[in-house]
């Protein structure tokens, strides 16, 4: 389960980092607390990460058994879902749900996200799926590094290698 918790931590930290990166507001970028270590001012991520890893059915070793709480986004057989707490970012509330199977995250759904501006919608439509996909690919393929056309220093945060360096 520990690996899953780390991966959730990485995903949420990555999502919040991406929000800050795309909006070009470094001075007011959302602070996030990951694993109890506060990186900035307001602690938002800590509660969310704690909720995702400890709450729900997270520790019930449910691999192989049907989900205790069927949800709209039904998990595949042998998997179960865990809802994170709502994290209040400076852009608005964000809540994620992870699908866990065989002690690994096999899916991530965004249950709630900011939809106030066109930028919010763009983040939901493009950035979240992209970052989630990268995290899942990096984890599911058991890869140690990624070779590809050179990314820029600024583009690194959205690279698969970045997801690996974050511990996905």
């Amino acid at each position: 389960m520990r690996r899953v918790i780390l991966a959730v931590t990485g995903t949420i930290a990555g999502l919040v980092a991406l929000l800050g990166f795309r909006s070009h507001v470094p001075s007011s970028a959302p602070a996030v607390s990951v694993g109890g270590t506060s990186v900035g001012g307001t602690s938002v991520g800590g509660t969310s990460v704690g909720g995702a890893s400890v709450g729900g059915t997270g520790d019930s070793n449910a691999a192989g058994s049907p989900s205790a709480e069927p949800s709209a986004s039904a998990a595949p057989a042998g998997s179960h879902t865990v809802d994170g707490n709502v994290a209040s970012t400076v852009y608005g509330p964000v809540q994620v749900q992870v699908v866990v199977g065989n002690d690994k995250i096999t899916g991530v759904h965004i249950l709630e996200q900011p939809t106030n501006t066109a930028n919010d919608l763009a983040i939901g439509q493009f950035a979240f799926p992209k970052l989630i996909g990268e995290t899942l690919v990096a984890q599911s393929a058991h890869i140690d590094a990624v070779s590809g056309a050179t990314y820029t220093s600024a583009g690194y945060i959205q690279s698969l290698q970045s997801a690996i360096d974050r511990g996905a």
Binding site: P129, K130, G133, E134, V137, A138, S140, A141, H142, I143, D144, A145, V146, S147, G148, A149, T150, Y151, T152, S153, G155, Y156, Q158, S159, L160, Q161, S162, I164, D165, G167
Partner: protein
């Protein structure tokens, strides 16, 4: 259980990622310092770098540091080796950066080996050098990015002491130029080369990409393998390209 050190250093216009046993932090510090020296010496974006001043004729090659002379000699040899498809002057002015990054990461990995590290992986912005077994005890598994889908991999390779370099449509907007025409190379989306030395693998990947089709299909070099993705999304590879077995875990 040994603690792994993962460090991502912004240098040379990209990020160099280290994956090494945590007891070799000081060696990583040394390697990072050296990479910043390489950046300051070879950057074509810094007017005061040795390479910039050499390119403008302000200094002669004989006045440059031994490292610069070594790189220039290697670039000349590679240009001859690749029929001119690798060139440190492909864009018209002196720019050895197509060789420098792979060379620098190869050296950084060697510094960790010299410090006693038996197992590490250094990724310089997509050009990877692996040493020894992975932390799992088997080979390092390196994904090759899919240029058509940033969240997907085109193929995964596996090996212990080997290098993986990829050239493609660059994120930084600097396309690979065909030195013979001065125009961006066409026909390919990306070329990945594996082999024992990252400096050579990186330069070969650039050269094969610049060749375009059909010449790229025919390229071969002892000890080096190639995997290419064509503009229509097709792929080809040489028989010895080290494709990883499907993960059965």
């Amino acid at each position: 259980m040994m603690v792994r050190l993962k460090r991502a250093e912004h240098v040379m216009g990209t990020v160099v990622s280290f994956d090494v046993d945590g007891t070799f932090g000081a060696a990583v510090d040394d390697a990072v310092r050296w990479l910043h020296w390489v950046d300051a010496t070879f950057s074509t974006f810094r007017a005061d770098s040795e390479v910039s001043r050499l390119g403008r004729g302000l200094i002669a090659a004989g006045q440059c540091s031994p490292a610069v002379r070594e790189v220039l000699a290697a670039c000349d040899a590679l240009s001859a080796r690749t029929g001119g498809y690798f060139s440190a002057t492909a864009g018209g002015s002196l720019d050895p950066s197509g060789y420098v990054k792979g060379w620098a990461v190869e050296r950084a990995a060697a510094m960790l080996t010299s410090a006693g590290s038996p197992s590490h992986c250094v990724n310089g912005g997509g050009d990877v050098r692996c040493t020894g077994p992975s932390p799992r005890g088997d080979g390092w598994r390196i994904g090759v990015a899919n240029p058509l889908d940033a969240a997907a991999l085109a193929v995964t390779v596996e090996g212990r002491d080997f290098a993986v370099a990829t050239s493609g449509i660059a994120q930084r907007g600097r396309h690979v130029l065909d030195p013979h025409t001065g125009q961006p190379a066409e026909g390919l989306l990306s070329v990945t080369v594996t082999g024992p030395d990252l400096a050579l693998a990186d330069a070969y990947a650039t050269a094969v990409f610049a060749m375009g089709l059909p010449r790229a299909y025919r390229w071969c070099e002892p000890g080096y393998e190639v995997f290419g993705i064509t503009a229509d999304g097709g792929t080809w590879r040489t028989p010895g390209f080290p494709v990883a077995p499907a993960p059965g875990r």
